[in-house]
């Protein structure tokens, strides 16, 4: 059980039973049993205020994470997994898509070449060759990641505009 706990701790993200088996060389049955015990153990200790951590099911996977009431204390110390500079570039791509890399370069400068490469590696955008430049678009993974329920481009554009307006209005209050 402690071995499975070690695996869950170090993954830092939801992992499947298979991944845990692979990392620990334990059998599927054993891992599943250990996970159930861990969920119970953390739950009971959490309710007694003995730990801020919980083990919980996320889809078909399992994760070790902070209990909701402690989440705010963790936010500041854990970094964003996508650096801000990349967020900026991908937000432009999503807004203007399909957009030529050359056009993007005119907007923000030649840093885009590096950013596009990294964004492709992250799986957020895809590109196809078009003459001397590349045409860039968001991938379905991107929509999934940010929880967009639609992949309709116009709707997303509207959504971004709308959201920004609301944030601005709130800031001006």
């Amino acid at each position: 059980m402690r071995i499975v706990e070690a695996a869950l701790f170090s993954a830092g993200r939801p992992v499947s039973v298979e991944e845990i088996c692979d990392a620990t060389n334990l059998g599927k049955k054993e891992v599943t049993k250990a996970i159930s015990s861990l969920i119970e153990e953390y739950k009971s200790r959490g309710e007694k205020g003995e730990t801020p951590i919980e083990v919980s099911k996320a889809g078909e996977k399992y994760a070790m994470q902070l209990r909701a009431e402690y989440a705010e204390y963790g936010k500041k110390l854990s970094g964003m997994e996508v650096p801000k500079k990349l967020l900026k570039t991908v937000s432009l791509i999503v807004y203007y898509q399909p957009v030529a890399q050359s056009e993007l370069k005119n907007m923000v400068g030649s840093v885009v070449y590096d950013h596009v490469k990294e964004l492709e590696e992250l799986g957020f955008i895809k590109s196809k060759k078009h003459g001397r430049t590349k045409i860039l678009e968001a991938t379905s993974y991107f929509y999934e990641y940010f929880g967009f329920e639609t992949t309709d481009r116009e709707k997303i554009k509207e959504y971004l505009k709308e959201k920004i307006k609301r944030i601005k209005d709130r800031a001006n209050l």
Partner: protein, 277 residues
């Protein structure tokens, strides 16, 4: 005939495009200079040639197939042109040598990878150090990585939107600045064109200072790098800006400083009237 021979001595017989390419090479070579009359000999010799010219990987050649094929041919024809046969066998030998060179060098590479550490000279250190260094290299490092959580969290939609807004503002400012600079340059060019005669130089300086003063008025008392009021890629503009700034500094209207001499950024700050003595 030619196709048969090539596909026989090539290991990747299923690779049609590869075969076609080689045939093309052979045709090209055959048209220019060919010393072997027999198409069989010519096909083989040219295939070997390609290997030696590094157009073809030596490992694409199946030397066993080749020797079987060649022996058959000698048996069937009953007579043999020894000079040609000698040439072809020599070429086959060269291909074999290339193949074995590959094996040797890849083995050497592997050995190097495993044994990249030098001999530790035992006279070099005190006993403790010698023992430690040897043990580290032979038995492995005495360091263990601590396993921690990857403390990264997903990015939220709000963060994406904030990033979008930020970058849009940045682009807007950039665009404005670019436009402004273009206008100023246009103005400057007009003025430079108008100025002529003996007074041109004096007039120019006065005009230039006016332009720069105009740009400086947007400082609002804060310090800014010189890049904000002129296009540093435009040499003429840089000269004009700096000479005007030096004049204004002497007049006590601004202060100028540089971060690191001689390549650091130059900053300008307007001196307010009440600050003047």
């Amino acid at each position: 005939m030619k196709e048969d021979i090539i596909s026989h001595i090539l290991m990747h017989r299923e690779d049609a495009t590869h075969k076609e390419k080689i045939e093309k090479y052979i045709d090209m070579a055959g048209n220019s200079s060919m010393y072997l009359k027999n198409p069989f000999d010519r096909a083989i010799a040219l295939t070997f040639d390609l290997v030696m010219e590094e157009q073809l990987d030596p490992w694409d050649i199946d030397l066993v197939s080749f020797s079987r094929l060649y022996l058959e041919r000698v048996k069937n024809s009953g007579m043999i042109d020894l000079i040609t046969a000698g040439r072809i066998v020599l070429m086959a030998w060269k291909v074999l040598k290339l193949q074995s060179d590959h094996v040797v060098s890849s083995l050497e590479e592997k050995e190097e990878e495993e044994d990249e550490w030098g001999e530790i000279p035992d006279w070099y250190m005190e006993d403790d150090g010698y023992f430690y260094t040897r043990a580290v290299i032979e038995n492995g490092p005495p360091l263990e990585e601590k396993v921690r959580r990857k403390g990264e969290r997903k990015v939220t939609l709000i963060e994406l939107i904030n990033a979008f807004e930020e970058v849009r503002d940045e682009i807007k400012i950039k665009e404005k600045r670019r436009k402004h600079r273009a206008e100023e340059q246009e103005k400057f060019r007009d003025q430079a064109g108008r100025a002529a005669g003996e007074n041109a130089h004096q007039e120019n300086i006065e005009e230039e200072i006016k332009i720069i003063l105009g740009r400086l008025s947007k400082l609002n008392g804060r310090a800014m790098p010189i890049t904000e009021i002129c296009d540093i890629k435009n040499k003429e503009e840089v000269v004009m800006t700096i000479s005007s700034l030096l004049f204004l500094a002497r007049e006590g209207k601004i202060t100028i400083w540089q971060d690191n001499f001689p390549y650091g950024m130059i900053y300008i700050k307007k001196v307010h009237n009440h600050e003047k003595k």
